[in-house]
Each structure stands twice: as C-alpha cells, then as structure tokens.
C-alpha cells in the first residue's frame, strides 16, 4: 500500500507530542555526571603519591612535570616538590591514571572548567592540592559509590 510508511511515521511523531520532553534546561538544571565519567580535570592525592614518575612517562604528550627530592627518612617514597599538569594540553586519555601504581591520580568528574587564560589551566601543586577532589571512578572501582545515581537517562536508572 503506497504511503503507509509515511503514515506510520507521522503517527509515531504524533505520539511524541504526548511524551514529556527530555530536554534539560542547562544553566538552571544540570545532569549529574555518570560515575565513571572521564571528566575534564585530574585529581591528585598528595599523601599517596611517591613521585615515581610513572604517570609522566605514560603521558603521550608529556603534560605532566614532576620534580622530586629525596625523602626525609631515606625511604623510596620521594618528596614531591613540583607536580604540574597542563590541563590546557591534556587530552584526558587517562593513561596516567591507569599507570599510577599508588592510586594517587584520578580523573575528575567535573566538566565546567573553562577558563579565560591558558595560565589558569596549568594545574600546579598548590592548585591540585586545593582542588575539590571530586573523583570519578574511571579505572578506579574503589571510587564507585553505590549511592550516586546515573542521571543521564530519563528514569535516572543505569542500564547494564
């Protein structure tokens, strides 16, 4: 029957009129980022870092700069003098996060980190320490919190 396809399509689109729209009005309402999101920042936990330089070596672009000095007690955990990540050049591939053996580096879960100057994007040690450490569970199952809901689907439930 000619034209039935178009008629069926139009009926389906008509049913869309009666569904609740799935738009989120962005600045007023926000979606909660997924638990394992690869966010736009890196979270560094200073107490766990040993200055081993694995992350800097894993980085494809070399955006991580580490300067260490020998530890006070002579152990292998060196004192980290400078730890700088240039998030302006970082592509958030997560290789550094995968490389860290001490679970000191996490990807963050925020994404609204645009700045007006490139200088503000360079996260040096002070900024990383002062950061609100909202970690994401990318490659870090220990950061998965059961309570936090997915939120990207209309019902808010995660699909498997």
């Amino acid at each position: 029957m000619y034209g039935i396809g178009i008629a069926k399509g139009m009926l389906l689109v008509l049913q869309h009129l009666f569904r609740k729209p799935i738009t989120i009005q962005y600045p007023d309402e926000r979606l909660e980022t997924p638990r394992r999101v690869r966010g736009n920042e890196l979270v560094w936990l200073e107490e766990r870092c040993a200055g081993c330089d694995y992350c800097a070596k894993a980085c494809p672009h070399g955006v991580i700069r580490i300067k260490t000095s020998p530890a006070a007690d002579g152990s292998n955990r060196r004192h980290v003098d400078e730890f700088e990540i240039n998030t302006g050049r970082c592509m958030f591939c997560g290789l550094c996060v995968e490389a860290c053996p001490f679970l000191a580096l996490y990807l963050g879960s925020r994404f609204e980190l645009a700045r007006y100057t490139q200088e503000e994007l360079i996260m040096n040690k002070e900024r990383l320490v002062a950061n609100a450490k909202l970690v994401s569970a990318y490659d870090r199952p220990d950061a998965l919190s059961v309570e936090r809901d997915q939120g990207l689907l209309p019902s808010g439930k995660e699909t498997r």
């Binding site: 029957m1 000619y2 869309h16 569904r19 729209p21």
Partner: protein, 395 residues
C-alpha cells in the same frame, strides 16, 4: 454583542456612514483601506504566532522543549527574531544587479499577501468576492516564482543561481497538479468564486474530493519550498539557495514571505477542502464560537499539519521531486478531474453519489502507481536491463 458574531455588520455600518459624506471614488478607497487593515489584522499577528508555533511544535515533535528562553516558554521569540533581523546589515554583493536584487524580496512577498483578498473569513466577511477567485489565487501565487528567480539571478553567485533554477523548476512543475486538483472542486461547485465554494460545503470537500485534497496538499508543500521538498533552501544542501546573499531586512522579507505564503496555502486548503467558516452547513457556525474563529482554528490546524509533516518526512532528492510531480501527481490529478467530471455529468446535485466519483480516483491512482510504465523499482527510475549493462573497466 451581536457584532462580535457578525463583524460584517460593522463593516456595513461604517460603509453606510461614510457613504453619507464622501464622494464615491474616495468612498471606495477608504473602504478598501479599512478592508486591507482588517485583513492584515489577521495576517500579520498570525505571522508572529506562526514563527513561534512552528519552532515550538517542531521541538515537541522531536521530544524536546522547543523555545523556552526568550520570555516565558519562548513566547517573545518572534520579537527577538524581528529585532535581530532589523539590526543586521543588509549587504548587497558588489557585482549584483542592484535593482533586481532589491526588488526581488518585494515581488516574493506581495503575491502572498494579495491572496488574502479573496478568502472568506466568515459569512459576508471577505475583502472582495471575485467571481474568478480560484483563478486569481493560482495566478497571483505563481508570481512568487519570479521573485525567487530574480533573487537567484541577481545575486552574482553560482550556487544561488543553481538554487533558483531548481526552485523555479520545482515550483512550476508542482503548479500543474495544484491547479488540476482545484478543478475537481470547481466542477463540483460550478463556480470559481471562493465564497460560493465555501457556501457550497455542507459536506466538506475533503470527503467529496479526497484525492484532490491530497494532491493539493502535497503540491502546496512543494510550492512553499518546505517540508519534504525543501532541497532548494536547506542549509545542508545548498546553503540557502536563491536567498543566500540576502541578510538583514531583505532576508526578513523572504522569511515573512515564506510564512505568509504558508499561511495563505493553509487558508486555501481550509477554505476549499475543509469548509472555511462553514462546518456541516453552518451547524457550528451559528453557535457559541464565531465563524471567523472557526476559520482561524482551521488555518492553524492545517499549519500544524504542515509542521507535523516537516518533522516526520525526510527530504526528497531533486530528481525524485520532479518525477513525483510529473509522473505521479499529474496523472492522478487528471484521473480525478475526469472522474469528477463524469460524476457531475451524471449526478449533478447528489452529494453522496458525487462522493463515490470523488473516491474512485483512489483505486485508479493505486493501479497507476503499481503499473505505471517504466518504473521498475519503487523509486520510479528505469532500471537498465542487465544484459545491456557494460561496466566501466579500468584500463
């Protein structure tokens, strides 16, 4: 209170009052101007409403909210659009033909507004009752093609010219089924005047001439350069076709012309096929809702259907477009005219038996679609016979 239902009486009262002290020629001019203001009082606010309705409805058809930002739920968006378009610079290309370039938008807008002169809004509420109403509407709305062509030609832009050529080809080839589908209605009514067509519709012509309705609707879509047939002005295809080089106020005139033309086509469909202000012989028209409100509701409903089609159907390719007009719509429209004429010859007054003749083109059309010569695939192109096909081999 009675005046709300019978706006024509206000007009008669004003005419009677003016007749008292004005000479005849001035009388006609003043009454004409008042009529124009009355018609535009419907058309121009409707344009603002249409811009909003279209974007909001398309959003809802696509399960999103549509306009929300400007004003509560986006109702001030047309105002924002108007301000934007007025404050933009209207650039003229350097080597463009300035006279034609500046004149083209006006020639595109004016016919769309002139169509409103013959449409009946309610009983006795029309600007004028031309006894060649349909002929006037069709011939005036053809002038928009010239506006489009002038725009493309004078833009000094090869893509604009290409778009204009295609637009003209599309619009001209869809004029033919448009007119033929109206002829069925004219045969049933016996008159070209739109007022008598609306008066005749105790039963809407949608039921007496369904094929005519479908063909008119589809041809109107193609005339308006919208919905599935907007290849000529879709941004992903040819930037903007014939109005690529227009910006600022000149583009605003094209924008308005498109919506006015859409509104005029919707008004034609609702007058000719849905009964205009008439509904089943005036059954509703004397009721609580005034007749012109019914008319407006029908016009907006048809426009909503246009938006619905735009949200659903993907764009047609230009060769599919032209093939559809000449190879499908035209033969079916001819069959419709022939069978309706047969019906009129045999049963001139009986609506029910006329309806039988009106629905006959549907099986005829289906048979044509199934057995039309040369169309091997559904797309209608002739397939090359396998034995004759010589593939191009690499040397």
């Amino acid at each position: 209170m009675d005046y709300i239902y019978h706006l024509s009486r206000i007009m008669d009262a004003i005419a009677g009052w003016l007749n008292g002290f004005l000479p005849d020629w001035l009388d006609i001019i003043v009454l004409g101007l008042i009529g124009v203001v009355g018609v535009l009082a419907f058309v121009v606010p409707s344009l603002m409403v249409l811009i909003y309705i279209e974007r909001k409805l398309i959003g809802r058809f696509q399960i999103r909210t549509g306009l929300m930002r400007v004003g509560p739920h986006g109702v001030l968006q047309p105002v924002a659009d108007a301000i934007k378009v007025l404050t933009k610079e209207s650039m003229t290309p350097d080597k463009a033909d300035k006279t034609v370039f500046n004149l083209a938008p006006v020639i595109a807008l004016a016919p769309a507004l002139m169509v409103w002169a013959v449409l009946p809004f309610a009983k006795d509420l029309h600007f004028t009752d031309l006894n060649i109403g349909i002929l006037y509407v069709v011939s005036i709305s053809t002038l928009t093609i010239i506006g489009a062509f002038m725009a493309g030609w004078s833009s000094n832009n090869k893509f604009a010219l290409l778009g204009a050529m295609r637009t003209v080809a599309q619009m001209v080839s869809y004029e033919v089924p448009l007119v033929l589908s109206l002829i069925g209605v004219v045969l049933v009514t016996g008159s070209l005047s739109l007022v008598s067509i609306v008066d005749r519709q105790t039963v809407p012509f949608l039921l007496l001439q369904p094929v005519g309705f479908l063909i008119y609707f589809i041809s109107a879509l193609a005339e308006l350069n919208r919905a599935p047939m907007d290849l000529m002005e879709a941004e992903s295809e040819i930037i903007a076709g014939y109005h690529t080089e227009y910006s600022g106020f000149k583009f605003a005139i094209y924008y308005l012309a498109e919506y006015t033309h859409a509104l005029a086509m919707a008004a034609m469909v609702s007058s000719v096929f849905l009964g205009g202000w008439n509904l089943f012989g005036g059954w509703f028209s004397g009721s609580f809702i005034p007749q012109y409100i019914w008319f407006a509701l029908k016009v907006y409903f048809i426009f909503a259907v246009l938006v619905w089609i735009r949200a659903t159907v993907p764009r047609m390719r230009v060769d599919q477009l032209m093939g559809f007009a000449w190879k499908t719509l035209l033969p079916i429209a001819l069959a419709n005219v022939f069978l309706t004429g047969l019906g009129i010859l045999v049963f001139p007054d009986n609506d029910l038996l006329l309806a039988v003749f009106g629905w006959l083109p549907i099986p005829v059309g289906l048979l044509w679609l199934r057995f039309k010569p040369g169309a091997v695939e559904r797309g209608g192109r002739e397939a090359v016979v396998r034995s004759e096909y010589q593939p191009t081999l690499a040397k």
